[in-house]
Symmetry: C2
Subunit: 341 residues, 2 copies
């Protein structure tokens, strides 16, 4: 079978100056792999569509918290038809079903014609759900739901998100508005403001705007956000955290900029009870009971089925096209890129 195959083992030793993916060649190659065999409790899936998430972008570069396995197909998430069971009643019952899934650990990933998933982590899809939604139904929606749980646990309605126009943040903003929360979105383009306000953002601030610092201070004073969900983790993030009030939590879940943040005033951690921490979906998945995860995924599926949620598609690429065009397509704002193996 054809696949985008990892060229390296383990992790990159040094954080590069810029973690943006600019070339595929140093990290993956297009090649042939044997069709993988599912183990007990697993299924083989013919991949219809695979997502390209920020976590994939970091993973193939060796910058994500899971070691690469040289010779394995890349890709965490996808949608496809279950074509074989490795045994076990749950796996057997999935054969012939279209499922959303996350590839099992240590097996060929979703950037391949076939992939392997644990049957317990396959979500059978109802008819109304498009492949584009199924292929992006686990990582982003679960991340959004899990992070909004953090916000709600703090008991204050307002929170800040960086990279506000990302697919993930758009999901979060819509979901947050429904829950009566008041998201403050940071974006880099004025053109994104109206879109996010339409989704339910209480405030949208352009970080490139000349008055950003003073507007941020005013909004923080008014809304008193307690949580900062941050995909960027650069010096601007440190400044946003510095402006926030007592008990603020800076929750880092991505590192979209190579610039390292310097704490503006460490004394705030002492006297204002502020915290800095990380969020990683992989850990949340491990620590969260199966029923809670299943409920979260069903919530996501029903929203996609009714059309209430809809994944914005930037491009659908073949594996060949991905080798040359994926970095450029990822640089396009506002939508998600998919692979069609």
């Amino acid at each position: 079978m054809r696949a985008l195959i990892l060229k390296h083992d383990g992790y990159e030793r040094e954080m590069p100056d810029d973690p943006t993916l600019t070339e595929m060649d140093p990290f993956v190659r297009l090649g042939e792999l044997p069709v993988p065999e599912p183990g007990e409790g697993q299924v083989r899936i013919r991949v219809a569509l695979a997502a390209v998430n920020p976590s994939d972008e970091m993973f193939i570069q060796g910058l994500y918290g899971q070691p690469r396995i040289q010779g394995n197909a890349a890709g965490f998430e996808g949608v496809g038809e279950v074509v074989a069971s490795g045994g076990g009643s749950l796996a057997d019952r999935l054969v012939g079903r279209r499922v959303a899934f996350v590839a099992a650990v240590g097996v060929p990933g979703t950037w391949a014609e076939y992939s392997i998933a644990d049957a317990a982590l396959c979500i059978p899809l109802v008819d109304g759900v498009r492949d584009e939604d199924g292929a992006a139904m686990i990582v982003n929606p679960l991340t959004a739901l899990a992070m909004l749980d953090i916000v709600q646990g703090e008991g204050a309605p307002s929170f800040i998100v960086s990279a506000g126009a990302s697919q993930l943040c758009k999901l979060m903003i819509g979901l947050a508005a429904e829950k009566g929360l008041r998201p403050i979105a940071l974006v880099r383009r004025d053109s994104q403001i109206e879109l996010l306000e339409g989704l339910g953002a209480a405030h949208v601030l352009n970080i490139e705007g000349e008055d950003f610092a003073s507007r941020l201070r005013a909004v923080v004073r008014e809304e008193k956000p307690r949580v900062f969900l941050d995909a960027v983790a650069n010096q601007l993030s440190a400044r946003v955290f510095h402006v926030m009030g007592r008990h603020a939590r800076w929750v880092i879940y991505g590192k979209l900029d190579a610039e390292l943040p310097t704490l503006v005033e460490p004394g705030q951690l002492i006297f204002m009870n502020k915290h800095i921490e990380g969020f990683w979906l992989t850990r949340w998945m491990r620590d969260t009971p199966m029923e809670e995860k299943a409920a979260a995924i069903q919530t996501a599926q029903s929203r996609f089925a009714t059309g209430e949620w809809r994944t914005d598609v930037t491009a659908v690429l073949s594996l060949e096209e991905a080798m040359s065009r994926l970095p450029a397509e990822l640089a396009t704002p506002n939508g998600k890129v998919f692979l069609e193996p």
Copy 2:
């Protein structure tokens, strides 16, 4: 009455390049104040000896998390005789007793001939306890006990302390060793190594040593410390935190260096579940039930009474002497400075 009187209100606007206290004159003056009257439930204390803690050093400069009140006497902690009650049975019963105390909020502090304390926060002293121990019996011992609670809550025996030769760290190291914990102390002088090993440090590392980085890595690999209790919060602190493993907590409780820390690898917060937070005794005092505090203070007192704990004294200064000599005496390592108003 004579007192060292605060010259400014509120906070300093800007963190100075170096928070070390080099002059008294910009911040306090020696002057006269009316003898203060205790309110209901409070007592007036004739101060025998007042402590000079790192928190005082920060406070008079406007760098501590409590606003200064211009015209008030400085000083948080002291020992002395209760000479008047403001009413209430607890306050009445304390008259004539020698007590360790922390000055009430908004009243003249302990760097004065008389100070005011809430009766509930006065600790009657037994005879075996020296004035030097009584005057340093609340802030440091409670900080040590509270921070060791954090360590023990993590369930791993090993932890790291910076500024390892401070009076506070010496208390913590001894107490930790008794509890079967394994402190790793960071110091700046080889001459401090033997002393801290004698108190029970599992490892003492000189941060000025050429092999510090490699020794730290080796010790962290061996001991797997989970908590870093840090009074310095500079770039070296950030590097120590970076070397620590999964689930490490960087607990900042002081800022002894003006250099701001830059996070070495924010991805560790995400993938390794590491945290950065602060510890502030004032908050701990507010959030901790009275019985727990009383038990902690009794533990401290009994250790001082038996001579098991002993406060090392660098100097005892009059208020006049303090105006000229306090900064120089504070720069002397290993002991505590007291004022005798």
